[in-house]
């Protein structure tokens, strides 16, 4: 922002900022419009995709002998509206969507919203700790590598993160299962909870939290144990990207004059790194963490399948292979929404951390 001077002798002062609220409102309005457009696009694409597939939901959801009975097939198609022209089906879906009705899943027979409410917390229970771990480790290790640029520890980190990026997630899942479950027997197999425990009363949908809330400490601990391996795998996958990114972002910051200036002021290394470097390096990290979260969600598909984790990834996988249109649409919409919301948060956070950035 350029300042304005009126006093001849006084030099200048920070110009008064124009009122910010309208900017923010405009920004949000635009983002919401874009989000709506995006969600609409998602419905179109999914609808089109499901309809180019040979075979419809009736085949996927009726028994083989039932398929031989035209009456049963007709009843099914009528029940799910599959006998209507596609554009009508689409309009119908949109209409319900506007009323907050995502339709009923053909494979579970329950409202898609109910399914999402059930599966999303399970996935978040994996994704959130993984993301937090990855962020903390990624930032710390990436920063360390940047500071020790060119030395042995930097090389180790670099190779390590490249290894992480290069490991197939499904293979890693199998390897850790083999090691920690099959060979060592130190971790539980799949699932969210050992069978002797009943799922805790649902508050957040996350077993660890719910069990703790209900005071069922044994169950909470058991749920935590079940989390360890899948979270480990997801963290490994995400942290590699983050480390690389943080490292190069911090390297760039380290070359800035203001870091030299901070040293020149006589500040101890700790302060320079912890305050000056971290603050500036965090901006790109925030950007990438938005993307990393999206990729993490995507990574859950494979990991959940291998660990038998009943989350969104498994649900998505089964919906896709079962051609369960309402579920696929529900998942796609949800993920698209998360994607845009995360991006929005990233942008808002950006503005919060970096005073130079204005929402426009």
């Amino acid at each position: 922002m350029t300042a304005t001077t009126i006093e001849p002798a006084a030099g200048e002062q920070p110009a008064a900022r124009r009122p910010r609220v309208p900017t923010l409102v405009r920004f949000l309005a635009k983002r919401i419009a874009i989000t709506i457009g995006l969600l609409w696009g998602v419905t179109v694409v999914t609808f089109a995709l499901v309809h180019v597939v040979p075979g419809d939901a009736a085949t996927a959801n009726l028994s083989e002998q039932a398929l031989n009975d035209p009456a049963v097939v007709a009843a099914y198609r009528a029940k799910w509206g599959l006998d209507q022209p596609i554009w009508l089906q689409y309009l119908h879906y949109l209409q319900n969507l506007l009323h907050g009705d995502l339709g009923t899943s053909q494979q579970t027979g329950r409202p898609v919203l109910t399914d999402l409410v059930q599966y999303v917390p399970a996935t978040l229970e994996l994704a959130v700790p993984s993301m937090i771990l990855a962020l903390v480790i990624g930032t710390a290790v990436g920063m360390l590598a940047a500071v020790r640029h060119g030395r042995a520890s930097d090389q180790v980190v670099r190779v390590g993160s490249l290894l992480g990026l290069s490991t197939p997630p499904f293979w890693l899942s199998l390897v850790v299962l083999y090691l920690f479950f099959y060979l060592l027997g130190v971790s539980p197999s799949g699932g969210r909870l050992s069978p002797q425990f009943a799922p805790p009363p649902s508050v957040t949908g996350m077993y660890t939290v719910d069990a703790a809330l209900a005071g069922q400490w044994a169950a909470a601990w058991d749920a935590v144990q079940h989390l360890v391996l899948p979270v480990l795998v997801l963290t490994c996958l995400t942290v590699a990207t983050l480390i690389r990114f943080v490292r190069s972002a911090m390297l760039e910051v380290l070359q800035q004059d203001y870091i030299r200036a901070a040293y020149a002021k006589g500040l101890p290394t700790r302060t320079v790194l912890g305050r000056h470097l971290l603050r500036a390096g965090l901006v790109p990290v925030i950007t990438v963490s938005g993307l990393a979260f999206a990729s993490l969600l995507s990574g859950t598909v494979l990991v959940e399948n291998i660990f038998g984790w009943p989350g969104l990834g498994q649900y998505a996988f089964r919906s896709a292979t079962g051609l369960d249109l309402p579920s696929i649409l529900g998942v796609s919409l949800f993920v698209a929404l998360v994607y845009t919301v995360v991006n929005l948060l990233v942008d808002l956070l950006y503005g919060l951390i970096d005073p130079r950035i204005r929402l426009s």
């Binding site: 300042a3 304005t4 001077t5 006093e7 001849p8 002798a9 006084a10 200048e12 204005r358």
Partner: protein, 336 residues
């Protein structure tokens, strides 16, 4: 505002190509506006009239952000002006957009500030120069013409096969000049062509430009923030402040007897070498944001001589031979 196109050249040269009567480059009441979400509308050039005759070097000076580059880019046709007209050899300059540039306008060329960005790093020098040669030229003629041009700027013919990264900043600027010459220009707009260079390369490039202008009888609008440099080469100098030209005069006269307080302040701020240390005079404040220009005379808030008339905008009026000034102090009778 009553801009008076002031034509003429101190050094006699060949007649202007277009209409023999008018100046070669004629900028009339030009305005350039940028709209950005952050700052709103920025009037970077707020009604400037200026003309350059054949064989004439006109210097344009002013503080950073006063709109010099915006003026140059609009004048050459890289951006569409918001208002006003630019005429080159008598015909209006059309902004370069989707169409190919009309052949008649190729005689108006520009030399850019950053020699590192103004040459395509992935093409050979020769190819880039050839961009400006007529399409019908045979391979042999083309090669010949390229080496001629390179020779003119003091670079060897073998340069044509090389890439820009093999040259220093000063050499690149010379190559950029050779490329501009390929269009056989009669007018060159040079936007801070030496700012990015070392003192020594600066001298080389400036010497080259001035020599070419004199030899080829071209006109040149030489933009710079370095007053001393402009003083060295320009026949006339225009001083710009916040999107407006506040004073134009033959260079020596401008230096010895500036009419605008701003011109005076600029000159006084240049540190000079002398036996006893002598601090340059301080002009208070800095250039205001053009998005938020002061009313009346734009220099009023910083002007040591401001008085009540300055609440109204002073027009640029001629004062004597090929000189104009926009200051109430001068227009109220006195000159100087």
């Amino acid at each position: 505002m009553s801009p008076e196109p002031v034509a003429g050249a101190t050094v006699p040269g060949p007649d202007p190509i277009g209409s023999p009567s008018g100046p070669l480059l004629d900028i009339d009441d030009l305005a350039v506006e940028y709209r950005s979400r952050a700052r709103g509308a920025v009037r970077a050039v707020a009604g400037v009239s200026l003309s350059v005759g054949a064989g004439e070097i006109v210097g344009l000076v002013g503080e950073s952000g006063c709109g010099k580059s915006s003026l140059a880019r609009a004048a050459v046709g890289l951006t569409a002006p918001h208002a006003g007209t630019v005429r080159f050899a008598g015909r209006p300059v059309t902004p370069v957009q989707w169409a190919k540039r009309p052949a008649a306008e190729v005689g108006l060329q520009m030399v850019f500030q950053n020699p590192y960005a103004s040459l395509n790093p992935r093409r050979r020098i020769g190819d880039q120069i050839a961009d400006g040669l007529p399409a019908g030229l045979s391979g042999e003629r083309r090669r010949q013409r390229i080496s001629e041009l390179l020779d003119r700027v003091g670079m060897g013919a073998d340069t044509a096969a090389k890439y820009p990264h093999q040259f220093s900043g000063g050499q690149r600027q010379r190559l950029a000049i050779a490329r501009a010459l390929a269009g056989e220009p009669s007018m060159i707009i040079a936007d801070e062509p030496v700012t990015a260079l070392d003192a020594s390369s600066q001298a080389q490039v400036v010497n080259l430009l001035v020599r070419l202008v004199r030899e080829l009888g071209m006109g040149m609008l030489f933009i710079s923030h370095d007053l001393a440099l402009v003083r060295q080469i320009a026949d006339r100098t225009a001083v710009m402040y916040l999107g407006k030209v506040v004073e134009v005069a033959p260079t020596e006269r401008l230096w010895s007897a500036p009419n605008h307080p701003y011109t005076r302040a600029l000159i006084d701020a240049v540190p000079t070498i002398s036996a006893r240390p002598e601090l340059p005079a301080v002009l208070a404040g800095e250039v205001p944001d053009p998005a938020n220009a002061p009313s009346g005379c734009r220099f009023r808030p910083r002007c040591p001589a401001a008085f009540e008339s300055c609440g109204h905008e002073p027009p640029l009026v001629p004062i004597g031979d090929r000189a104009s000034v926009a200051c109430w102090l001068s227009t109220n009778g006195e000159t100087g």
